[in-house]
Symmetry: C2
């Protein structure tokens, strides 16, 4: 069980924060699941690693990681937000069927951002890009095979 320290853990220390068991557990879960997890899910999985972990600490850890840019908040249309490991040029692809979240590398956005910057005079420092659609699996099964669809009905009667 001698996992090498996640890069994020080193970044935490470098920023002057303490490397606690709780934070390590959250980081470990985030790293294992390379997609979006809600604070509640992180809490549940985190307790498997470090039993005394508290939900409140998960929230606080996520806020800290978000501040440091190590994690990204994902805005699905569901009630709770999700968090996923952040990376340069990594954005999120959300399946409207199974609600699974994956990352995809994206080039060509810088160009667009530069264009908007030039046109509007804004100095743009951050961007959020989320694409929504049906994953291959959900396309195969013929649509949302999911218990909690977000928008009521796709049209089509």
């Amino acid at each position: 069980m001698d996992n090498p320290l996640p890069a994020a853990a080193r970044a935490l220390r470098a920023a002057g924060h303490r490397l606690t068991r709780a934070r390590l557990a959250v980081l470990q879960v985030l790293e294992a699941e390379h997609a979006g997890l809600s604070p509640q899910e992180l809490y549940e999985r985190g307790r498997a690693i470090y039993a005394p972990l508290g939900l409140v600490t998960v929230y606080r850890t996520l806020a800290l990681l978000d501040e440091l840019g190590l994690v990204r908040r994902v805005h699905s249309d569901q009630e709770r937000h999700a968090y996923a490991c952040a990376g340069a040029d990594r954005h999120h692809l959300l399946c409207s069927g199974c609600h699974r979240l994956v990352e995809f590398p994206c080039q060509g956005l810088d160009e667009l951002v530069a264009s908007v910057q030039a046109r509007t005079g804004y100095r743009i420092t951050e961007h959020l890009l989320e694409l929504t659609g049906l994953c291959p699996a959900c396309q195969a099964t013929g649509g949302p095979a999911d218990p909690t669809p977000h928008h009521p009905a796709p049209r089509g009667a």
Copy 2:
């Protein structure tokens, strides 16, 4: 006071929904402010137009408009979500100084979306693009140019 019916109002009717005073008030506010407003703000401004308006109805109206694609939910890093008129190829530019929200037309995203679609096998149906930065005014003053026009002090004003 014979305002022409907002296009959104006609869309509502076309989709088989009733054109109520409450809904008209919300639409009127949304149209007047061409940027993001929280449900609470919509409620307050809406009551100036139609006094008996209820906050719950604002939520319900926004959900309906969102379903019909007439409004778009904006995910700022603040607690409350905002809603803004939706349009094709219109995305949002958020100032981190004054929190003002403006729309910008965007070309060149379809290409990017098509590329991701081809690479991942997802059938992409929606996209959310939000850029964050400093507006020209806030760059000039080195901070909030204007004391938070869109996000007034929450409590006890």
